[in-house]
Symmetry: C2
DNA sequence: CTGAAAGCGCTTACAG
DNA sequence: CTGAAAGCGCTTACAG
């Protein structure tokens, strides 16, 4: 008896093991085909719905798929069809209040067109043993600012891989569509408002990260607004804010330590404006009475800080959506627009000196 | 002459066209093999580095790969190896200041372990003709709150597909690891602080979305703190804030319209606190003098709003990292911890009535 | 409308 | 250490 029990127990263990194995053995198109009494080609056809299939067969296939809980493996489809149905997003800065807006726009549009989203951040310092994202696992790439080395972009371009650049000018000689925003116009509006309505003439400008396109255009707008109002440009009023709070804070401390007179600050973006607020408050300079402050982007928190931030609304979510549209055009072999410039809009709140709406 | 020119032009066009075609024909492992004079098996071995290969052959392969700019196709690897090397993230709410923190933690940890990230938001109302994410295109799923129907979770569980739940309790009878935060303790600390330090006794609590686990635990903490201080629970002080600004704003308006007396508000989370601020300011009630306000999460803007928000710091980024760790354990066939509770921490700023640090 | 078969580009026992 | 070959699970001409 003991022996028998043992033997049964052993068998049971084996059975359990083989059942486990079974669990991992997911149904394939062949299982569906045999259950529905059709060929695998027919199953594939009802799956894709591109070729007509006799109604009763189609029904049998549908039923079999449900019963087996069949889900086609992506890898097999991709390999056979040479389409990944996936779009990649490459970016460097996951931080920044800016990012969720962009992601939301991209996600929404992508899904509407039936694509998946693979994301890859170049700021995590992971070993790039394997190329993380590119022609081997996506149909096209959205590249945000300078998150990808020029060399890699050129390589992808040279194999005609669909690319769309966000917030970055086209690279010399490469015909890659670009989506960006009216940085210069926005900056002109902002600075002109400071000059015309609030009579400011010593306006600090905080640059973004080195080589950041958005920053360069904003600076150009800043200079143009100064010039058109006959205000001389003063190099000492320019510093680097890096589009982040901490750098902006330090930049302002330096400017104040150097005793450079100023009556307003264009922070570069909203994140930097936070650092400016902190530095000014610490120095007991009143915003906007002593110093007017303006940002750029109009991210979520901008209306809630105190005083509420005057800024420029950048249609970031729409940039995301439009970028997806352009990329899908490219993937479909259609033309895409070389340059898409999204309109920006002045958002007047309190930090410039205008009366707030409490 | 004219004819010759034309003819040449025509040929040129054809040539350009065939070149274009060529461009899309990416190198495969077979191209590398023949160039390096080895078998494709050998190429595969140097690619994966798991089996020793003779040094000179390995070198020839490396060289050939570089020259051809070879990148192995993911789909082929996945199909052959039955591993996608991809983790999926399913979530419902891309909005909310909460999300970038979570994403950042996930991204960083994922890359460190060599996985890709496929993301899928259930809030975009896209047609789910194809199952967007699951066993067919990932090795495991991170499921945030109730972003996936119970039925689908059960299905995945029944095929032993690796799952980790974020901010949600384990489902009845299913042994799925959960990562969440000390919501109750945080809420107790918050409410006790209001009672003990600021002598508040009529504290409004704004619930999150229906059925949201985080909210339920916070409410439990709220009740416990009340009870342990001998303050009777008053149903009228509870309303729904939905973890968002607008709902919270309306909830507060209703409470004030109903003339329900209160001297503090626990907003449920930081996003909701924004709505509370707006409603109170509009009603000319001073924060914190008339009404103390506290939030939960400590997202980016919380320190910058005015008055600076007293809240609880939720280690969201770490939740993301830990979730990835657990999921990868599961994928590797190892055990994962059934429940991981992350510590939260009271962050005292000004909105509770404490003196600020300007 | 439908099936048999080739092929997508890799990995991995298997035999040596 | 290495190559020939089977196989991963689909799609898609091709012929009927």
């Amino acid at each position: 008896m003991l022996r028998v029990d043992f033997s049964l127990g052993f068998l049971y263990t084996l059975k359990a093991f083989s059942e486990m194995k079974q669990k991992f053995r997911l149904p394939t198109i062949a299982d569906v085909a045999s259950r529905a009494q059709v060929s695998i080609a027919t199953v594939s056809r009802v799956l894709n719905g591109n070729v007509p299939v006799q109604a009763d067969k189609a029904q049998r296939v549908q039923l079999a798929m449900q019963e087996l809980r069949f889900v086609p493996r992506s890898a097999a489809r991709v390999l056979a069809s040479r389409k990944t149905n996936t779009i990649g997003l490459v970016f460097s800065e996951i931080q920044g209040a800016f990012f969720p807006h962009l992601l939301k726009g991209i996600e929404a549009q992508l899904r509407a067109d039936g694509y998946e989203l693979l994301i890859y951040s170049t700021d995590s310092l992971h070993p790039k043993a394997r190329k993380p994202i590119g022609e081997h696992n996506t149909d096209g790439l959205l590249v945000f600012t300078s998150s990808l080395e020029r060399e890699e972009i050129e390589r992808l371009y040279s194999i005609s891989f669909p690319l769309v650049l966000l917030h970055e000018s086209p690279l010399q000689g490469l015909n890659i569509p670009v989506i960006t925003i009216e940085n210069k116009d926005g900056a002109v509006a902002l600075v002109s408002h400071l000059i015309e309505w609030h009579n400011r003439r010593r306006i600090v400008f905080l640059r973004g990260p080195d080589g950041h396109e958005d920053s360069q255009w904003r600076e150009r707008g800043y200079r143009e607004a100064l010039e058109s109002h006959g205000i001389p440009f003063d190099e000492k009023l320019i510093s680097r804010g890096n589009f982040d709070e901490e750098t902006a804070f330090q930049a302002m401390q330096k400017i104040m330590a150097d005793d450079i007179p100023f009556d307003a600050v264009f922070a570069g973006d909203d994140d930097a404006a936070i650092g400016v607020y902190r530095a000014l408050k610490m120095a007991k300079r009143l915003i906007p009475d002593d110093v007017a402050v303006v940002g750029f982007d109009d991210v979520q928190f901008s209306r809630y800080i105190s005083p509420a931030l005057t800024t420029v609304r950048a249609p970031i979510e729409e940039v995301g959506r439009e970028a997806v549209n352009q990329l899908i055009s490219l993937i479909s072999g259609k033309q895409a627009q070389a340059l898409t410039l999204m309109r920006t809009e002045l958002v007047i709140r309190e930090s410039c000196g205008c009366p707030g709406y409490p």
